[in-house]
Symmetry: C2
Subunit: 360 residues, 2 copies
């Protein structure tokens, strides 16, 4: 392990003062070409990299942003973090990742406290900004200590949150139109000719669940009835789709179609149905939300809603950088969920059948 070479030694080796080296490092014009050449050579020869730590002491900038998420294993988050890392790096920022793993089937007995602890580390580390992708803030009822800690954090360093705004939180929220996506998929199923439609997945007490479920119910209420036994909440994971669907299978007769809260849940549902020798979409149709990359390759290919989460992630970084640089924020951009019709909804199948019977 070679000891790190410093600007002082470079200066000595080049026969100049540290200030001159510093000037060369920062591309200041007020250095003679001759000295600049000498210094550059020494820097190159010794492969000198100035210490960001020392620089940070002076500038009060670390060129680092922190990202908080609850499950790095979840494609919903990785799609976003991929964009954040990429765009951040383009702008000269590195990414400190904190993965609380409090989502889903977690073993933490106090997720709020876990996140608060992360906030402390973030302050210590003196990042320039923070992006929160999910966690405690997504709850209908947010822990008060958590909220206080979050506001305190936002007081020290700009915090951008991708999620539904909380009136008691001073952070900047990048909003997603959850209701619209749920309306789109529900309407699509109705328009495809299904009348009895169920809803599965989503953790109760989480805003995304409530909002999608509410939108589902509202949309349904215009055209048809929804019984509570056709709604099975659980969580956002594949095993939750499996368990919700399995429970629903005890209902007779089954709904014609199902709205799954996301593609993972949809996939779990397909698995549960297959175990009972039920086919999708022939025996029951499935539409879902949050287009995950694999959904296009499933059997059947999943009809779903693309929420364009990567776009939101990019906007989050942009706004955060504005906050960091005290620039004006971009005006709020519209967020358009998009329906992707594939196979699991059976729409095309039905259409073909209709055409066929029309011809007869």
């Amino acid at each position: 392990m070679e000891p790190k070479i410093t600007i002082k030694e470079i200066a000595k080796l080049a026969g100049v003062s540290v200030s001159t080296v510093s000037r060369v490092l920062n591309e200041s014009p007020s250095v003679s070409d001759k000295k600049r050449a000498i210094v550059k050579k020494v820097i190159d020869d010794y492969n000198f990299q100035p210490s960001m730590v020392a620089r940070s002491m002076i500038s009060n900038k670390t060129h680092t942003i922190a990202v908080l998420l609850t499950d790095i294993t979840n494609p919903y988050f990785t799609a976003q973090i991929e964009q954040i890392e990429r765009y951040g790096r383009e702008q000269g920022y590195s990414l400190l990742m904190f993965n609380t793993m409090t989502a889903g089937h977690s073993n933490s007995d106090n997720p709020a406290a876990d996140e608060i602890k992360v906030f402390e580390t973030i302050i210590e580390k003196q990042v320039d900004g923070v992006i929160i992708l999910g966690g405690e803030i997504d709850r209908e009822k947010v822990d008060q200590d958590y909220l206080k800690a979050l506001n305190q954090l936002n007081d020290q360093v700009p915090v951008v949150i991708i999620g539904q705004p909380n009136p008691d939180c001073s952070c900047l929220f990048i909003e997603r139109d959850e209701a619209m996506g749920a309306r789109l998929i529900t309407t699509h199923l109705l328009a495809s000719g299904y009348h009895r439609i169920g809803f599965i997945g989503g953790e109760p007490g989480i805003k995304i669940t409530t909002q999608r479920l509410t939108a589902f119910k509202q949309t349904m209420s215009i055209y048809a009835e929804v019984s509570n036994s056709d709604i099975e909440l659980s969580d956002f994971y594949i095993q939750d789709g499996y368990s919700s669907m399995t429970t629903m299978l005890k209902t007779k007769p089954l709904p014609d179609a199902i709205v799954a809260i996301n593609d993972r849940v949809g996939q779990g549902a397909i698995r549960a149905l297959a175990d009972q020798h039920l086919r999708v979409p022939e025996d029951i149709a499935i539409g879902s939300c949050d287009a995950f990359p694999d959904a296009e390759w499933m059997v059947p290919r999943m009809t779903t809603i693309n929420q364009h989460n990567e776009v939101l992630a990019r906007i989050a970084v942009q706004q955060l950088l504005h906050l960091i640089n005290n620039e004006q924020l971009d005006s709020v951009q519209t967020h358009l969920p998009e329906l992707i019709i594939r196979e699991s909804c059976g729409a095309k199948l039905r259409h073909q059948q209709t055409e066929k019977s029309d011809n007869t």
Copy 2:
């Protein structure tokens, strides 16, 4: 944005010297209970967090480790990074994540240069250690500039790599027995009664591909013939499984079974087969490697090899910490790939059929 409070102001407010505050911060015993109490109160009141940056200047430690990977979207990597983040955080380390996105269908024309650039950032940021999960180092022929830069990096800060050792690289490697996994799955298919077995997926020129393919061929050669037309390399993603399988479908007759280089590729293959109304395992069996979490819920459930990548990730952190603290390394731990028999291989199906025909 409140300006950050410093140790100096805490000292003034508490009516003591900065050293006393520092002592309290560092739990030094040589502070009177009285002063300690006063200082603690002020710290608490003002919610003071000492600056890691300033501390790092002195200690030359940032309590940060960097992780390099090529695709955060890939479950192969997220399983590992989840462990690294968790275990690292338990030990007081934060994680700087660099995602080069050079894997798979990348748009980078020079992945080696991309990684070299990341190395520079890592040195600047003065992390305490580095873990590399994949990238240029996985190639059969590693770029020489890259290798030089990597060795230089390892000269400044300890680097641990999860992957196959490279004799020209001075970093510490955590090795995985790729060959053994491939042997296990191949033998399993052979033992299940398949004779003509194909191999799909994996990027040519990548060690993991070569090693698994070689092990596959060797194992096969003991019991049966393998024709080159039954081998279709491509890459590690779902669309690669689809394309490889689609290509292979032009071969008549088809192999009885397929070894996929990982579960994603296997999933793509199932999709390609379904498009031709071919069933797995009835028409063709599939065995794969690298148990991804979803594989258990696919239709059919995927027979695969669990390489226990999370365990390797944990070992990598442990060894890295030893390196950081100049402690003795743990002795090399054995790594045991494990066969998970599910549905896609058709082993159970065949067994039942055999039993049935035995009874007749």
